[in-house]
């Protein structure tokens, strides 16, 4: 199996008057071609920022730092502009498409820029792409403005635009969050299909374990700017090892006992300025003890091997009783 995407030691910092805050703390992840890595975590854990940083689209005042960025084995760590071979689908298709450009002319422009088509072949390629993403009347669709389309059709359009750049890696930033459940299922199916057909390496960010279970082969659970657990989707969801993952799964409505109260994780994630070197979940964890406050090395989301950052696991591989990072 060939590697699709490899990201090494990604750190994202926000600079402000009093200094710097680390938002994403040196994470490493990767996924093979034809496979999907799901990144799951609460709002603010840095999962979307991780994707945007890979894409070179960080907001003003935020800087990224990584030691390597490889697409299909080739180093593409450039000047911070979108790396070749990587495309992205965004969360809200209502705002992510240019409101004053017709779908067709947008697609044609992208195709002409990215793949060097001439006007006629770009139009043909656009029609082909639209039918590829399941749009039944591509000719009609080409003339539509985004506001004339339903949410599902808009997201299909956004996927077609991303595929128009002929990517090897597709980054998906909660692309189904703004959709209703049945549309969501159809879009997820479409993404899996395209991934299989095009041998795409996919990274799919979501706060929804149910969605991750449907789409991902492998999962990285993020908390407070770090990966705290990683492994195959089956292992992580069926046999969670980190207390955070366990509590996250327990708080899914589908896992609540019928008639019983919904469970939630008490408290809030720490603010980035308050990130500690020890376990960052400790303050909300019912199993918190002195060992949790010792520095951690952090995990990487590279292999299928099931690993966790939690000290309450005897076989936690990443645990190092040193102050190496201090």
């Amino acid at each position: 199996m060939t590697t699709g995407l490899e990201v090494s030691e990604l750190t994202v910092r926000l600079s402000h008057e009093d200094g710097q805050v680390v938002l994403v703390d040196g994470i490493t992840l990767g996924i093979e071609a034809g496979r999907c890595l799901g990144i799951v975590g609460e709002s603010g854990c840095g999962k979307s920022l991780t994707l945007r940083s890979v894409m070179g689209l960080v907001p003003l005042g935020v800087e990224r730092d990584l030691s390597a960025l490889r697409v299909a084995g080739r180093e593409v760590l450039g000047d911070g502009t979108p790396p070749p071979g990587v495309a992205m689908v965004f969360q809200d298709s209502a705002t992510s498409l240019n409101p004053s450009m017709r779908v067709g002319s947008y697609l044609v422009r992208v195709l002409r820029r990215a793949a060097g088509h001439d006007a006629r072949s770009a139009r043909e390629a656009a029609l082909l792409l639209l039918s590829e993403v399941g749009i039944s009347h591509p000719e009609v669709h080409m003339n539509a403005f985004p506001h004339q389309l339903s949410g599902g059709l808009r997201q299909r359009t956004a996927i077609a635009l991303a595929l128009a750049t002929a990517p090897a890696v597709l980054l998906c930033d909660e692309p189904t969050t703004a959709l209703d459940v049945s549309t969501q299922a159809r879009i997820l199916r479409l993404l899996r299909e395209r991934m299989d057909a095009r041998e795409l390496a996919m990274v799919f960010v979501s706060h929804d374990m149910g969605v991750i279970r449907q789409v991902a082969d492998r999962v990285a659970v993020m908390y407070a700017g770090r990966i705290v657990e990683t492994g195959s989707t089956e292992d992580v969801i069926d046999r969670p090892r980190h207390h955070y993952t366990r509590m996250l799964l327990e708080s899914m409505p589908a896992n609540a006992a019928p008639g019983g109260a919904f469970r939630s994780i008490p408290g809030l994630p720490p603010a980035p300025a308050a990130y500690v070197e020890g376990c960052r979940f400790a303050s909300r964890c019912p199993h918190h003890d002195a060992g949790c406050d010792l520095p951690l090395v952090g995990l990487d989301g590279l292999s299928l091997e099931h690993r966790s950052d939690c000290v309450h696991e005897d076989d936690t591989p990443s645990r190092e009783w040193t102050h190496a990072r201090g």
């Binding site: 502009t81 495309a87 965004f90 498409l97 409101p99 403005f145």
Partner: protein, 314 residues
């Protein structure tokens, strides 16, 4: 008929009730304005009988609906009455005075455009940096400068001290006309430009931070093509709306500035007429200036509809 033409027609149809309201208001001026118009027409030394005769002749005694109907009839025929003072038809006076005001308005819009829009882009693109923050602070101060003061300053500095341009009045010939218009246009334009700059900066700032620009960047749009198809396309509608909305204050600025630079335009005609209770002239000028603002706003709406597909009704 195309969707755009249809939309333009519908927008123009909306103008009609507003115009009617304007006509009503202008007609009501007769009752609102202080002083007795019949008395001022007849002159200070006229007898009560003579005043009564004037009132009768001009139909000031007719019941209001009848008076309004004949007023409407006159207006639709281009009859705006006759000046009490000079006995010149008001329509003729307007045609005579309009070129000055139009020149100032066009020049002022151009000045506002040329200064406000690039400045707004600059502020948006360099937001958070020291130079843009300083420029923003200066703009807040400049926004509050009154047009008459700026006009006087320009007149004193450029006109009197440097002697480069006329201090006031119209110079003969085309070159003279242009030379006479530069300072008035600059005055009105410079006062309006900061508003435009700040507003453009806000809308560009929003577009720069928008999701669709992020998407465009992820699709490898950059530089000129990002600017043209993704930024400018979406920045134009709010800018056009803003300029149309500025039409009113630009005209008001022209009224003031004609006074400062002693130019024979509609604004100075309005002031002269108001000062001498020249009722028909005030009425006619208010009507024409009001209609101009209404039409400019409607034109702005139509332009926005053409530029922004989301406002189209098709």
């Amino acid at each position: 008929m195309s969707g755009r033409a249809q939309l333009a027609l519908r927008r123009l149809a909306q103008v009609l009730p507003v115009l009617l309201l304007l006509l009503l208001t202008v007609f009501a001026l007769r009752a609102i304005l202080p002083g007795d118009p019949a008395r001022s027409i007849a002159g200070p030394r006229a007898t009560e009988a003579q005043v009564e005769e004037v009132r009768d002749r001009l139909g000031f005694d007719e019941p209001l609906p009848v008076a309004f109907a004949s007023f409407l009839e006159d207006v639709t025929q281009g009859q705006l009455g006759v000046s009490n003072r000079t006995h010149q038809p008001v329509a003729e006076l307007i045609v005579q005075r309009a070129p000055v005001t139009l020149s100032i308005a066009i020049g002022a819009v151009a000045t506002t455009f040329l200064i406000g829009i690039p400045l707004g882009w600059y502020l948006a693109l360099r937001r958070g940096r020291a130079d843009a923050d300083a420029a923003s602070a200066v703009l807040i101060a400049v926004v509050n400068v009154p047009a008459f003061w700026l006009g006087l300053m320009l007149s004193i500095l450029v006109g009197l001290r440097w002697g480069v341009l006329p201090v006031g009045g119209l110079e003969p010939g085309v070159t003279g006309w242009i030379r006479s218009m530069i300072l008035p246009c600059l005055t009105v334009g410079l006062v309006a430009a900061p508003w435009v700059a700040r507003s453009v900066a806000t809308s560009i700032g929003g577009i720069l931070a928008s999701d669709f620009v992020t998407t465009a960047r992820s699709l490898r749009f950059s530089g000129w093509s990002l600017f043209l198809h993704h930024l400018l396309r979406n920045a134009l509608p709010p800018t056009v709306t803003l300029l149309a909305l500025q039409a009113g204050s630009l005209l008001f600025g022209a009224v003031v500035v004609e006074q400062v630079f002693a130019l024979p335009g509609l604004g100075s005609a309005l002031l002269e007429a108001a000062a001498s209770r020249d009722f028909a002239v005030v009425q006619g000028l208010t009507l024409v200036l009001g209609a101009a603002i209404i039409l400019v706003n409607a034109a702005g709406d139509v332009a926005v509809a053409v530029l922004d597909p989301r406002t189209r009704w098709d």
